[in-house]
Every structure is written in C-alpha cells, then in structure tokens.
Symmetry: C2
Subunit: 463 residues, 2 copies
C-alpha cells in the first residue's frame, strides 16, 4: 500500500483534470431544466467507473433521476464494501455572489488551502468527494491492492431528498448486499484534526403558501382593509419560535433524545473557538436555542429555518402593491428519535391553525429524512479510524454533524448495514453557498486514505 | 357645448387608436432599462398636445425622467387651468398573471364594461385618464369652445415618488401660475354614482435589508446556531403591528387627524356592501385595524404594508440554505397631519431597535408624499360638481381615497392652488395589478365631462 503516495504524485494532474470535467456538467437535480445535464453526468460517472476497474456499470432509471450502479466482485467469500455518493448538485444561485461561474471550475489558492482549491458547484458536495472513491478504486485495481469486493451506487437526487431511492433500493435489494457502506459526503474538523461523522440530523422540508385576495391589489386603495399575505406570513413564521428560540409547534420536542451531562461535557471538549467562529462569519453574536452551546445547537438540537421566502414586488425601485400571495420554504433539522413524517404533520397542523380567517394557507411537504447515529465499536468505524491513523498520523475524533443525508437511515433499515461517514471537506468549503470549493490537499488525502480503509476492513473482518 | 357628444361619436375610434399607440410604449419609470421608452413616451405626449391645439410644447429635462410641458394662452385676463398627469406606469410584473401582454393593448368586454375596456398597463393609471384631457383640449380648440387659458404638465416619475418634481416646479414657478389644478388620476364610486376625490393619503416607502453571516450557509451545519435573516426579518415585521392591527411604531399616531363622530357617520352613508366586497376579492374575512370600518381603514386611517419580501432560495424545488440576507419593501399610507419625513425617521429608528445583535440592519428610505384634503366650498370643486351634473345628471359624492399622489400637497405648497381630482377610473380597473384596464365608456365620459369643467370654472370665476 506504500505505493499509493507515488501513484498520487504521478497522476494528480490527471486526477484533477478528470474532476474538472465532471464539475463542468450543471447537474442540478432541483431544476427540471437540467434534466439533460443530469443524464450527461450519470453517463460520465458510469464511464469513469468502468475505466477505474469495475467489471460492470449501468445507468439505472428511476421515476426521477437515474442511479449509477457499478461493481467488481473478486471473490464471493470476501467482504463487500458498498460506496455511496451523489452526482447531483445544489442550485448555484445567487449567481451574482460567485467570483467565477459555478460550472467553470477554477483552481485558486486560499489561506486555508495554500496548495490550491477547486472552485465550482459540487466540488466538495459531492462530486469531488465521490470521485475520490473512483480514483482510489483505480489505484487499487491498477496496483493489485483491492482486497475485497466493491459496489458503487451514485445517485442523482440527494439534493432533493433522494425521493425515489427508497423504491430503487427495494427493487435492487439483492444486488446491494454488503458488509459496510462507505460515504464521503461530510466534513472533518480541520486539516490537522481528522474526524469521522458519527451522527446526522434528520430533515423535514415544507413549502407554504399564504393567499389573501384573488389578485394583486393597489396598496393605497386596499391597504389596511384587506389582509396582506406577506405581513401575515411574517407573523405566522414569528410564532413558530418563542423568545428563547424554542420551537413552538406542539409536540415537536416530545421524542427528542436528550444527551446526558457526561455526553454533553465530552462534546464540549472538541476544539472550538466562539471568537473565531464569529469572526469568520462576520457576526457580532450567535443566535440559537437558550440553554445550549453553539456546537450543541448545530448538532444535537432540532432547528427550524426559513430557507427561502418571497412575494410581492421584488424588482428595482418601488411598487405599491398589496400582493395576493406570499411563499416560504421552511426546513426543520431533526435529531434522534424524531420521526420526520410525524414532525411534518405536526408542522402542517400547527401552521394552518395560526392562519387568520382573512387568508388561505397551503402547506406542501417537500421531502424528509431520519436522523442517524453510527456506533463507534463496529469494525467499520475501527477500520476507518485505522485508515486515518495511517495517513494523518492521528486518531480521528468522532463527531456529530448538523447536516442530513436522508439515505443513511434508509440504508440501515433496508440493507441492515452500518454506515461509515469518512468526510474530507472543511466547514469553510462553502457547500450549498456561492464559491463552493474543495482543497486539492483534501481531495488527494481522501484518495490516499480510502484504500487503507479497504485493507483494514478486510483484515478486521477475517478475525 | 352640446356639440361634444356629436364630436365624440364621430371621433371615438381615432381617440381609442391614439390611446392604444401610447399604451404600447413600456414607460416603466422604476426600471432603468426602460429609459429610452420613457423618452419615447414623453415625445409622443408632446406631439399629441401640439396636435390638440397647444401653442407651445416641450420635453423639459430633470435629473430623472423629463416633464412634458405645454400651454395655450388665449387671454392673460382669463383664468388659467393647469392640467397634471403622468406618462409613466407601474412595473407590470407578475407577468404570468396577465391574460394578454401588458404593452400589447387589447379591447375586451367585461361584466362591468359591456361597451369594452382597454387592457394594458397604464390604461387607467394614468395614460388613459391623462389622454382624456388631451382629447378634451382638441374638442375645445377645434370647436371654439376653449373659454380660458390652459397649461399641461405631464410628468414621468409619479410611480416612483415624483422625486425631481419639487426641483422642477421651483425652477418653473412663474410659468406654472394658475387658478386651479385639474387631475384625473383617481377613481369614482361606480358608473351610476359619480364622485370626486376630496382626500388622499400620504406615503412613506422604505426598503430594509437584514444581514446575518457574510455568506449563504448550509442550513444543516449552521442552522440553529447562526441567525437566519429571514426568520429575524419575519419577527421584526410581526412586531410592527400589535394584536389589534395597530401600528406599534412609537409616535406613529401622534399627529393623526381624528374625524368627528359626525364625519364618520356621514362617511358610513356611502354605498358599500361588505358581502360584495369580500365576494369580489374572494376572501372569507377582511383584515384591519380594530375599531374602524373597512371604508375607514382604507381612507382615513394610516397603514403599514409589506409590498415585497425576498431572500434565500426561491426557485423550483428545495435548497437547504441559511441565507446571508433578507429584504423587504415596506410602505406606510399616511393621513392628515402626518409628515412623511418624520414618519420615515420614526420607522427607521424603531426598526433598527428591533434587530438582535446577531444581525445587521439597514433601512433605506425610497420616497414619500404628504396627505391632502380638498375643501368642497371652492370654485374649483363647485365647477367640477356642476360638470358631472351636466353629463351624469347627478351630483357627485365627495369621497376620501386611500391612495397617494405625492404631487398634490407639493402643488398646494409651491403654487398656492387648489387641486381638483376628477377621476373616472373604477375600483375594479386593477391598477398596479395584472390585467389593468380602463372602460371605453369611462374614457369617453371623461372627455365629455372635462370641457364642462372649463366652462363652469370660467363662468364662476367671473362672478
């Protein structure tokens, strides 16, 4: 396995060029206008997986965007690693805040990434991290270092809630059998402090629509006499949290897992500077639920955020309109043992109850996902930990993340596997934001670390 | 003057065609992209005024959009009527709610307008109503019926707060001297019930910007820990009114003119059906300040409306973003004796005080205008009333409107004139909304009534 560093040195320019080619494809799953690009991205991933040494690969249709599936079975008696990733990306807007176009990747040095970082939508989340696995596979097959079977499942609907994956997994249950599932779609604490994500929050995502009069009205003639959906929606949103930033939806906290004081003090040991955090974000103060620290608010506590809101005149200048409609996209991050379907129902019921008679309200559930926690005493976790030790020279820290990967709890339920989240991104990579980027150092470090996981996992499995 | 009906019959098709030509020009003052069309519209108005019999006409520049000025002085000893109107229009969006393109006028019959109505942005507000005066002028000069001097001042910034008119009026004070100012930029109760607008509300229009972190963030990683500007802006807007829909800005009501019980019961006599009102707007209930009727809420009471609000992801599907910024356009309608500059300051101070330390807030004043009330015992009002009696066979009802025309109080202050608001639009004309239209009957009735005003005003002035 020592040849991995040499292989990386020799091939790193090509590894970057190949990633750049994939990043150029605007595979935005949320927008139907990019359906053709979604297929183009799926085809590219399939081709690269075959080149990397997979025996078979296919673009497998779903009622939405297709899943790319590939595999190399060397011996049925050896363990099988299933790699999951996604080739779809978040919409890039607001476009005017990007320093370079989101689908024209450029490499630039930053303070955190003096070796350079690739700036493009999807560079970190998740094309860059997914492609580390493809290149690790190439190394292992080219150098006779693949110690076990491997399956790839790269989906196209992660950013829209993996809507059809449930169906697809059930359809392909036999084919997907594995001993561990490996995912790189999260981050680590810093380049000096490797970490493995052991917890993810769940998600409930809804869209709400408030309707006043049947048409836009003149605010001079009707203002003050007819309900303004924007004022009303603001008032309704304000009522979703109380003065301590607790969520006011009845029943919302009923099943929330409360950590013990011991667990909370262990969490508090993670390296974290509130001053640095505020400075990086340029905020005078943090903002969150009373009684919890910033780290806790962002990981073990549920949240409610307006992700988008609009209505009325939003162009240049002034228009004295009393709009007919107001809209908001609202998402809630959930923690163990909240059930996203139950929470969505509680939200809907409560939100509708807040509406005065002067408006009509519609709540449309978008999608959701269950929270997940990885046990650290499994072979999967131990193998991952050993792999980081090989390449970072340090034991990684187990860490709960505030993000959500809906697939994770679905995998556990349908395939009865443990999921290992080996993420190589950084907090500062601006995923889901303008100027998303992924450090070249991180990209190469990921490719270097992954084969060690295969080695240790196979060896530990034999014992 | 009896020849006016005959003249209308003979020329009405041409009168319509000429208006259609002007409506085709997208003279949107709020959007800099339409600067060329603004000039095109000004040139067209100038040309039509010369054709209608004015001796001189000019497109007079301002630091913003130009004013069209024209006049015909027949005898310095006779009274002078100054006609005001505007050639700019409101932005047409949301475009997808128009049944036909806003700048491709079409004539269609409606329930209220069986004679047909012209559908186009500006058809009623104010190109259609302004053009009635041009055609009334044509009739009077062609038929030797012009009894006095006339001046026209047609501006291009009414829909953006007449920003440079103050300057322009001061520059042209001598030239603008007059005995009465005549404006058709309001409505009447119904085709059966003529009315003259005797009051207008003032306006304060501001834009607010709430900033959280210095970039859009992933709502999974930062949600719950960092302020969400959309949640915060909603909470701040909710705090601008109380549970009785009173405005909570300290000092806001200090100078509000309170009507006597007698005045309020006189107002309550105006024909109004709450059931019809709700049915037309398709609302289950009205919504407004406790203790006041719908008519009062829309005319004699001040208001606060969010005219537009936006932030975060507003495209198709879902994006789990914690936005960096949230915006709202907010306007307040003011009543006598509120000072819009003072109110704007009160709003700014209060709004800034509502912001928690976790966000930055900016309040940008857009524009404003003073409220106005016309006395009904003036020659101007009496002449207008007599004119309606000639053509409608009924005495018009004096009525307070909820809308604002910032110029009106400016005129009174700078030119020391009384302003007569002879509006021929209807409530249902959808001004500032999609599918704005103006009844052909109303257009022709306006052209018929205006010359009678000149006749009566000149005769009453001689006494």
């Amino acid at each position: 396995m020592d040849s991995i560093k040499e292989y990386l040195d020799k091939n790193k320019d090509r590894f970057l060029d190949e990633l750049v080619d994939i990043l150029k494809i605007p595979s935005i799953s949320a927008d139907p206008a990019y359906k053709g690009d979604m297929l183009k991205a799926a085809d590219a991933v399939k081709a690269r997986l075959l080149e990397a040494g997979c025996d078979t690969a296919e673009v497998s249709p779903t009622p939405g965007h297709p899943v790319v599936y590939a595999e190399k079975i060397i011996d049925k008696n050896l363990p099988t690693v299933l790699v999951y990733g996604h080739y779809d990306v978040q919409p890039p807007d607001p476009l005017d805040l990007w320093d370079s176009p989101p689908f024209e990747p450029v490499i630039k040095e930053t303070k955190i990434h003096p070796e350079g970082a690739i700036f493009a939508r999807g560079s970190c989340d998740d094309k860059g991290q997914m492609y580390m696995h493809v290149k690790a596979m190439e190394y292992m097959t080219q150098n006779d270092e693949l110690p076990c079977n491997v399956k790839f499942m790269i989906e196209g609907e992660e950013e829209v809630g993996s809507e059809h994956l449930d169906w697809w997994i059930k359809e392909n249950k036999e084919k997907l059998q594995n001993d561990v599932i490996l995912i790189s779609d999260t981050g680590m604490i810093s380049k000096d402090t490797p970490s493995i994500t052991t917890g993810l929050r769940g998600l409930s995502y809804v869209e709400v629509e408030v309707t006043g009069a049947n048409r836009d009205l003149h605010s001079g003639l009707y203002g003050g006499a007819v309900a303004n959906p924007l004022n009303i929606l603001s008032e309704m949103i304000a009522q979703l949290t109380d003065e301590n930033n607790h969520i006011s939806i009845p029943g919302f906290y009923d099943n929330v897992e409360n950590l013990s004081d011991e667990e909370r003090s262990k969490m508090a040991e993670a390296p974290f500077s509130l001053e640095e955090y505020k400075e990086k974000l340029d905020i005078r103060d943090v903002h969150g639920e009373k009684g919890y620290s910033t780290l806790e608010r962002g990981s073990i506590r549920p949240t409610l955020d307006v992700n988008g809101m609009w209505g009325g005149y939003i162009g240049e200048g002034a228009k004295t309109v009393l709009p007919s409609k107001a809209y908001a996209k609202i998402s809630m991050r959930l923690v163990p043992n909240q059930d996203w379907k139950e929470i969505t129902e509680l939200f809907k019921k409560h939100f509708e109850s807040l509406a005065p008679d002067s408006v009509k309200v519609e709540v449309k559930p978008h999608h959701g996902g269950y929270p997940y926690v990885t046990p650290i005493d499994t072979i999967g976790y131990q193998a991952a930990s050993a792999a980081y030790e090989e390449t970072f020279g340090k034991t990684p820290i187990p860490q709960r993340s505030g993000g959500s990967i809906p697939i994770v709890s679905l995998f556990e339920k349908e395939l009865d596997s443990k999921i290992i989240l080996m993420g190589f991104g950084l907090d500062t990579d601006a995923i889901h934001s303008p100027n998303e980027h992924f450090g070249i150092w991180n990209y190469l470090k990921g490719i270097e670390t992954i084969p060690w996981f295969y080695k240790h996992f196979t060896e530990m499995s034999k014992k």
